[in-house]
Symmetry: C2
Subunit: 387 residues, 2 copies
């Protein structure tokens, strides 16, 4: 980590705020209220693992013009002062009588006209990170001002990554790739899967991850049952396919990709399935362009899996990536979000080998005007064997 | 991890549901709606790091009588089926048109009478982990049923840990204690603080943590500026005091305590401050009893710090612990939560050495009828020196 908590130069954050203010203007909001770790980090550079404590809410107000205002627990003042934010108002949290509500209300009342609109992300993939009763008190206390959904404002701005952000995600991908290359050091027949999970996280840290926010995976004969479970103590055995899927973090930016390994010699079915997943990803890498919709990516991957002889798995086949492990859009049949140059995305096809047995494959890309540029070093075309 | 995702026998969860149902009955709720990772884990044993993805909401409904109902994304069905929960309803999430809202509405409409009440945690330290617009659609779709705050119901039940839970927290504390004992292997003059943070997380994993959800700390001459920052690349130097504060996790249960180390010989001020923090904690360990209020613990620690010659720091001086890094109550002057036997708590006094320089000290306990029982192996009375 750099000695400042700024991560980027102030100009990066100023450009973000201008983009948000442009979008707010079009949407008719007089201020944005942001409460999530990613949104706060995006505007301010305030990066801390302290979000892990649910005790205190944190607020950033982006007015229609001018600089953002942080309304935060006093415990965060020291760190916020090291960011580019100059307007910092604090209270002693947690306060069971008034946990920042009146301070936030007064701040918004000054910045938003009496009949104005406060934009708040309320839509798909958003959460309000403050107690609901406090939100209702805030809303009532600010009337006749109204709260309106600002999901579109935030998502359309945040989903286009700057080159500085792309560089950060590429760096995190490189860390994970180096750790994946070392999996044969820690996995093999007889090793318990939970030990492999622990060792793999240590490898990620050793290769430069600041922390490991996500690790899931699975192992079983030729494939696995699901992709979100923690690891059982069961020992790996010959014929298993092991999958590790990680969201490691460096300087606040995530990677999110996985790798598969055969324990011992891979069966023909396992090799063919891996090859189909790899080739379907290859087809999508060649075909994906700005102007397509998120659902088109789902269609491309599904068709390619069938063409390469695999049975496509359900669920989404990719998604956005950056400040959180997953961001919008989702590669599902229903997501009509336009794909644009500058989006960082995962391609994540899944195949069903038989009931209860799947295999998944994932790469991270940035979409360019004329191509999909890989951010994760490409997986080997053939399923690697750990012998 | 065990081969099942159950963590505990089904009887543990059944007892929890009965306790919640008793409390719901007194509060007049006809069902509880739970959306947070900790609340879902508490009722079901469903443990996954997949919560790291904000894409999908997850719902558990606890009816006034009978078994809980999981209304969850299809991607979680396999894992939920391995818990004790038998009533599982799924949808293909994320769905931009209807992300589980109608399925949840239909579920609640069946379980809650037309003029009944749905209890939802809405108070201090709670968040609604679903999009706000979806909550409003759900609320309107269920009218004339009403949503009412169930924070008290959930907190009064969850805050009393079973012996099985206490054992889990004690195990996690033991893992962290072994890692803290090994800090001299990874820290010393010349070592960058960010490398120490990475290595310490690897030590925690090596000692048995499933993952490391939280690590913060600081280092500076005799103390540090704050306790929530990520680590800068600055090298440790003679005269620094290094503090590491971790929330490691094993089988879903957290520890949360810290340790201080002098780099080289400790100054007299650093040694005296550490001794005052240690002694104030000792006094609180002796004095704390069920029947006191959370604010009494704050008072005990503050008075003891002054008596031992330190300047008490602001903020809260301890809190609950268990399924999340921090739980209610808070040791602040305003928190009137009664302390009861079975609560797992942290004692976390802080001292101000001079403006911008603090030192903190933390232990984890379970409150018993006649004493405070340590769960974290007690810190050394004297500030250890890494030479």
């Amino acid at each position: 980590m750099p000695d400042t908590s700024l991560i980027f130069p102030a100009s990066e954050y100023q450009a973000r705020v201008r983009a948000l203010q442009d979008a707010m203007g079009h949407a008719g909001h007089d201020a944005l209220l942001l409460t999530s770790p990613a949104d706060v980090f995006y505007v301010t550079g305030f990066l801390t693992r302290f979000w892990e404590s649910p005790a205190r809410p944190w607020f950033i107000v982006v007015p229609a013009t001018g600089v953002p205002v942080a309304v935060i627990p006093a415990i965060g003042a020291e760190l916020m002062q090291r960011t580019w934010v100059t307007q910092i108002r604090t209270w002693d949290a947690p306060d069971p009588e008034d946990d920042g509500v009146s301070l936030l209300r007064d701040t918004l009342a000054t910045l938003v006209p009496e009949h104005g609109s406060v934009g708040l992300p309320m839509g798909l993939e958003t959460h309000l990170r403050m107690p609901l009763t406090d939100y209702e008190r805030l809303r009532d206390g600010l009337a006749p001002r109204r709260f309106a959904d600002a999901t579109e404002v935030v998502q359309r701005v945040r989903e286009i990554k700057s080159e500085a952000e792309v560089d950060r995600i590429r760096s995190t991908c490189a860390i994970a790739a180096r750790a994946f290359d070392r999996v044969p050091e820690i996995a093999g027949a007889g090793r318990p899967l939970d030990a492999v999970f622990r060792d793999f996280q240590a490898l990620l840290l050793g290769e430069g991850a600041d922390w490991v926010s996500y690790l899931a995976g699975g192992a079983g004969p030729e494939g696995y049952g699901d992709v979100i479970s923690p690891a059982p103590a069961r020992a790996l055995t010959q014929g298993d396919v092991l999958m590790l899927d990680t969201g490691a973090v460096r300087e606040g930016y995530f990677c999110d990709f996985d790798r598969n390994y055969a324990i011992g010699a891979a069966s023909d079915l396992a090799r063919r399935t891996h090859a189909a997943l790899w080739s379907a990803t290859e087809d999508c890498l060649q075909a994906l362009r700005p102007g397509m919709l998120a659902r088109d990516a789902h269609h491309i991957l599904t068709e390619a899996l069938v063409r390469h002889g695999a049975t496509p798995g359900g669920g989404r086949l990719g998604h956005g990536l950056g400040l959180t492990l997953t961001e919008w859009p989702s590669f599902t049949p229903k997501d009509n979000t336009p794909l644009r140059a500058g989006m960082v995305l995962t391609l994540e096809p899944g195949a069903i080998l038989r009931p209860g047995c799947i295999m998944v494959h994932e790469e991270n890309i940035v979409l360019r005007e004329s191509c999909a540029e890989l951010l994760s070093p490409r997986a080997p075309a053939e399923l690697p064997e750990i012998t």
